[in-house]
């Protein structure tokens, strides 16, 4: 029963009051307004969603081992890829980093006690859960077979699937995004600690700010789109179906006006995470801070004017194609700037290779591949051949899985000691990172070749000459699946059995590392005053200016 102050710092996490043990019971969690607890609520739901979406992917890959379909009927296969896409995009990737790490870290990184609107934050989670439930109901009550893109008039008139439940799920979950984005923008503007100027902010905050802008500006459009889809499907109001007097391409314009920026909702937070990891594990200041920061905003802005590149072969005018092609090349530049700056950050660093760093380096490699293959699709003449094939599938999985999911896992591994107060077995974590990297490449690299050969996506059965590449891809998927299950096991294990982490196990800079792990409910005993820029790691030599 020691209460001496000296003991408090050395005491194991359990005996110190922190956000995890401040109160007990299911009510204390379901009614919490603590951003850190809300992070864990989201983490539980999106992990569940991830494994539902992942299971659908595994079944798809199993089916594609045989050209005639090894497992399921084509109509079932169609439901599998629809569920996989809808769950993974709207109910895992979009909220993944923002709702978990964003929620946990934004107040900690800027030196605040919570987000600007803690109750709104909890409401966001409930709204998201309701949206997820609708999607789950759509899966359990017969499935949806429209693909995650819900193209009309198939979805509005012809599909027999449970389109309304799924669309309603997307509609509802969108409000969660809007509320979260709003909350983050206000928090970043108004709640920064004294001395925390804009250019002292960690780049993760810049990335979350850019993401929040897209949340607030883009998400209403998908809500409108889903609303109109429902209007046509239920009440036969002609909006999209030409048989009812609608325009079938109008849907695609509206859908991609949100869904292309949504790609950046998925990747921008990942870029923010990687900036944190690269600096921490090379003990370096970021190379080109303002270039990395403003490239996030540039990506967010340009992302709203490139949607037409999804529609090069729909019969849109040649001139529209030319404009959207040029703008799509433009969005490649800020991404390239980031990759070069991360690489330059490693120069003369003191680099160590714990699991989070392996994920970060994996991210750079896979994101580079994903970005460069995007040039094939921004180029009009090659897009005509590659659009709608496995090349597209490979390209966006390099960005969304190789990029966003790698960064998410890297971030979870980096901040897990802060979140849980515990260390996980690093050797297992490094092993899992390698398994994910190998499994990922084996799964998706053959798909670039399949696409160039001309195999269309969303095919339940396929000509036999594509079999060898499909088997390779399926083999990779099984390795990838193992790579995702290992961290789930040791992270849960570490919550109970992991050794205490201490406030700063990585020796990293940033306000989140000066408070104990797990942090107390109020984050900081006293609000810190910031006197230095981000990543102010010590220098081994007198600094040279150049």
């Amino acid at each position: 029963m020691s209460t001496a102050v000296a003991d408090l710092h050395d005491a194991p996490a359990e005996s110190r009051v922190n956000y995890l043990n401040a109160s007990y019971g299911i009510r204390s969690w379901l009614l919490t307004t603590d951003h850190k607890r809300i992070c864990l609520l989201y983490l539980a739901v999106i992990t569940f969603n991830f494994f539902i979406g992942g299971t659908a992917a595994v079944l798809m890959r199993l089916n594609l081992i045989e050209p005639t379909g090894a497992l399921v009927e084509p109509s079932t296969y169609n439901k599998l890829f629809s569920i996989h896409g809808i769950i993974m995009v709207f109910f895992f990737l979009v909220p993944s980093i923002p709702a978990t790490l964003g929620n946990f870290l934004i107040p900690l990184m800027i030196g605040a006690r919570d987000v600007a609107f803690p109750k709104l934050n909890l409401l966001s989670w409930y709204v998201f859960v309701v949206g997820s439930l609708f999607a789950l109901v759509a899966v359990l009550s017969g499935g949806v077979d429209t693909g995650w893109t819900f193209y009309t008039p198939y979805s509005s008139t012809y599909s027999h699937g449970n389109v309304i439940a799924a669309a309603l799920g997307v509609f509802i979950a969108g409000f969660s995004s809007i509320l979260t984005g709003l909350n983050f923008i206000v928090t970043i503007h108004k709640m920064r600690a004294p001395g925390m100027t804009w250019f002292r902010l960690p780049l993760f905050i810049w990335a979350m700010y850019a993401t929040s802008l897209i949340f607030v500006l883009g998400t209403p459009v998908i809500a409108i789109t889903m609303f109109l889809l429902g209007l046509e499907r239920i009440f036969h109001v002609g909006v999209f179906d030409p048989a009812l007097g609608g325009d079938p391409l109008l849907f695609q314009h509206l859908f991609w006006f949100y869904s292309h920026p949504a790609v950046y909702i998925m990747i921008l937070p990942g870029m923010g995470v990687v900036s944190e990891l690269i600096t921490a594990f090379s003990r370096k200041r970021i190379f080109g801070y303002s270039f990395v920061a403003f490239s996030s905003l540039a990506i967010a802005v340009i992302s709203f004017i490139v949607w037409g590149h999804h529609m090069f072969v729909t019969g849109q005018s040649i001139y529209a194609g030319l404009v959207f092609s040029a703008l799509s090349f433009l969005v490649a530049i800020p991404s390239a700037i980031k990759v070069f700056n991360w690489t330059a950050t490693l120069y003369k660093g003191s680099i160590s290779y714990e699991a989070p760093m392996l994920y970060a380096l994996g991210f750079i490699g896979l994101f580079t591949m994903g970005g460069l293959t995007g040039l094939f699709l921004a180029s009009l003449a090659t897009d005509v051949h590659l659009n709608g094939t496995y090349f597209i599938v490979a390209h966006f999985h390099y960005i969304m899985v190789g990029g966003a999911v790698m960064a998410y896992l890297g971030g979870i591994h980096f901040w897990w000691p802060k979140i849980s107060g515990r260390l996980y077995p690093d050797l297992w974590a490094r092993f899992a990172a390698l398994v994910v990297f190998v499994g990922f490449n084996l799964t998706f690299f053959p798909q670039f070749v399949l696409g160039y050969l001309g195999m269309p996506r969303r095919y339940a059965v396929y000509p036999s000459e594509f079999q060898v590449l499909n088997v390779m891809s399926s083999a990779g998927a099984s390795i990838l699946g193992v790579g995702y299950i290992i961290p789930l096991i040791y992270l849960i294990w570490s919550m109970r059995y992991g050794p205490p982490a201490g406030p700063n196990p990585w020796g990293a800079k940033g306000l989140e590392w000066i408070t104990p792990s797990p942090p107390p409910t109020e984050n900081f005993e006293e609000i810190p005053t910031v006197t230095e820029g981000a990543y102010n790691y010590p220098s081994s030599k007198a600094e040279h200016h150049g």
Binding site: Y151, P153, Y154, R283, Y452
Partner: protein
């Protein structure tokens, strides 16, 4: 022995991995060149970045737990280089790809026009000479073909990988693509836009034949009327000529020589008369009114199917100004 066996199997498997689709049209060579250029750029930058990262990873690995890094500041020269060089590469790619795309988008004037209707889950193909096919398309080698397409239900996509051509097939309007086959052979035809349960079975074959074989194939089928002839009969049966008098003094405008002409609409908008505009004029005439003509034409929506509509349009397109005059005087 077992190892040898499996090693051999791997070799067989490797030999079975195709890396390139057949290249069988005048378009495919140019697309492949651009593809290889892009692959080269991808390899160059991937190898460059990976090599630098690996080099730094080894050279600057942490040697003692409390080792500090040597800090460096932003280098404006580097920042500008890696902004400007990728931008220039993007400009080159944009110009190259766009030029090729624009050229690939324009069918030669002499193209044979074949009409395609997509429906769940089959391709219906109609040749101007009359023959119809399902999920098979016979074309002669060396001659340009323009495909005009529409869908009876949802959005499909007409894709021939060997020709590197693809275009969505939409309900309620026409889209088109063209190709000129260069190699005799049999090639995949795929639906590349998800269209429901049997999307992956909405596939067929394109047969590229020597001109003589193609002529023989055309002659071998049942004798059918050409699309224009069938369209002409429809034109008479539906009574179109009562108003659309060829000389232009009827209650409706003359349709002679209309295809490809620019028409000024009542709204002031000027539109080029193409298949889609003709379609719109037949199915919802009041949506494109002309000055000097009363809005009295009834809609023909529901009175003919997509096939008949295509025949009627084929007939309207065939109406050159003098031709109609001749037909009139003969009667």
């Amino acid at each position: 022995m077992g190892l040898l066996q499996s090693g051999w199997n791997l070799q067989v498997a490797a030999a079975m991995i195709p890396l390139q689709p057949p290249s069988a049209s005048t378009i495919s060579g140019g697309v492949d060149q651009l593809y290889y250029l892009l692959t080269g750029i991808t390899l160059f930058f991937s190898v460059l970045i990976f090599s630098i990262i690996f080099y730094f990873m080894v050279k600057y690995r942490r040697r003692s737990p409390d080792e500090a890094a040597e800090q460096s500041h932003t280098n404006m020269f580097l920042e500008l280089s890696w902004t400007i060089i990728p931008s220039l590469i993007c400009v080159v790619l944009f110009v190259w790809a766009s030029d090729l795309y624009v050229r690939n988008s324009r069918p030669p004037a002499a193209s044979t026009e074949i009409f395609v209707i997509g429906k769940q889950w089959m391709w219906h193909i109609q040749h101007p000479e009359g023959p119809r096919e399902i999920n098979e398309l016979h074309v002669p080698v060396g001659a340009p073909v323009k495909i005009t397409m529409t869908s009876q239900d949802v959005i499909h996509d007409f894709y021939i990988p060997a020709f590197r051509v693809k275009k969505d097939v939409l309900p309620g309007r026409y889209t088109s693509l063209w190709f000129q086959p260069t190699q005799i052979g049999t090639y995949h035809l795929f639906c590349a836009q998800y269209c429901g349960a049997d999307h992956s079975q909405m596939i067929g074959w394109v047969y590229v034949m020597a001109p003589a074989d193609y002529a023989a194939w055309l002659a071998s089928g049942e004798k059918t009327q050409s699309m224009v002839e069938q369209g002409s009969q429809l034109f008479t049966r539906l009574g179109c000529a009562t108003c659309h008098v060829a000389e232009g003094n009827g209650r409706g405008p003359s349709l002679a020589g209309l295809y490809g002409k620019s028409e000024k609409l009542l709204t002031g908008e000027t539109r080029v008369v193409d298949e889609s505009l003709m379609r719109q004029a037949i199915l919802s005439p009041n949506s494109i009114l002309l000055p000097n003509y009363a809005p009295i034409m009834p809609t023909y929506k529901g009175q003919m199917d997509e096939e008949q509509l295509s025949e009627l349009i084929a007939y309207l397109k065939s109406l050159a100004p003098q031709q109609v005059a001749q037909e009139r005087t003969q009667k």
